[in-house]
Symmetry: C2
């Protein structure tokens, strides 16, 4: 590889291929297998493209897409955690992710490493409108896969085998901080759970 800058970028992109082997705790909508973090990231970026109108006016959707494409890369070194994991596990996860981020982004040319690190940190900090909207999509997507039904009646299978203790109340409690500031998305999420409750795949 003659150009060391491009060689470093391609090395980074090849290392990122490992995100396809990071298994999430959410199943695909058809229940056939667990989702991986790479296809999850694609789904979130597609959601940003499709649901842009529910973000506050002035939200930079290109930045939302950037954040979503990059936000899970640190799982290559650290793995994924369920959103209901204990606080201690979440703290350990945070330290592992910071280390993973440093290692992974260091593969890039210096200025670009700083740029990608900043994207990850912006997503994690959840202060900017872009990070908040990205985070809301990240909270909504597994709910769609787990309890959502398509118009033709597919899906809505629930996640009974993995987390039988989940209830509508518990899910709403855990999702509120990410979703409630986007009223239409929050209403859709609530509705989704109520329908799943009626269908008997989650307890109230």
């Amino acid at each position: 590889m003659p150009d060391p800058r491009l060689a470093a970028q391609l090395d980074f992109l090849l290392t990122c291929d490992r995100l396809k082997a990071v298994q999430r705790t959410t199943r695909l909508h058809d229940g056939s297998r667990f989702e991986n973090s790479a296809e999850h990231s694609w789904h979130l970026a597609l959601m940003a493209l499709t649901l842009a109108e529910y973000a506050p006016a002035g939200t930079d959707m290109e930045q939302v897409m950037r954040l979503l494409l990059v936000h899970d890369l640190v799982e290559i070194g650290a793995g994924d955690l369920h959103f209901d994991a204990a606080a201690k596990a979440l703290n350990q996860q945070h330290a592992a992710e910071a280390q993973a981020a440093a290692q992974l982004f260091a593969l890039l040319p210096e200025a670009q490493a700083a740029e990608f690190t900043a994207l990850w940190q912006e997503f994690e900090a959840r202060h900017t409108p872009e990070a908040r909207f990205a985070r809301a999509l990240d909270a909504l997507q597994p709910m769609l896969l787990t309890w959502g039904q398509t118009a033709d009646g597919a899906g809505g299978l629930g996640c009974t085998e993995t987390f039988p203790e989940l209830t509508v109340q518990r899910v709403l409690e855990l999702k509120r901080s990410a979703l409630a500031e986007f009223p239409q998305l929050w209403q859709a999420a609530e509705q989704l759970l109520r329908e799943a409750e009626r269908a008997g795949v989650i307890k109230p």
Copy 2:
């Protein structure tokens, strides 16, 4: 679901989940399994973010990302084809994809259906700078996975079991129209193949 517009968009997004079940002919970099089209689309959008500097000045990288996130969705109805497939199979594929696109995008609200159809058509037509750069990344990515090695020596396994007849000459011939107009990427692709040839995983 109270808001029919949002309900339609969520139905579309849930249907798009099926892209995760569309298997490509390329293996992951570690050779462990075939790649699916959803994680492939994520990888391409990440490449756009990382390799933006190799696009001509003025290329709209947000549009490149949009094109890449959407470009494979039509495979949900039509499946993926290897880039070396016969012309007849490629023609049939084109008709199947047009039908799949019409069906899938019709799930969206009307104006948005037109917008997504336009993205797909722009990618397919390969006339705009954005579509041409997106197409180049789409051509380069499977080469990276198949013949690329990370700096720590992982990968570069080749694709001998599926397409033993592939040679460096044949790959270059097939990739030239997508890649040659981006000199640094084209040079990297050539270099990659020459190294794979030296390693004995592809014939000259």
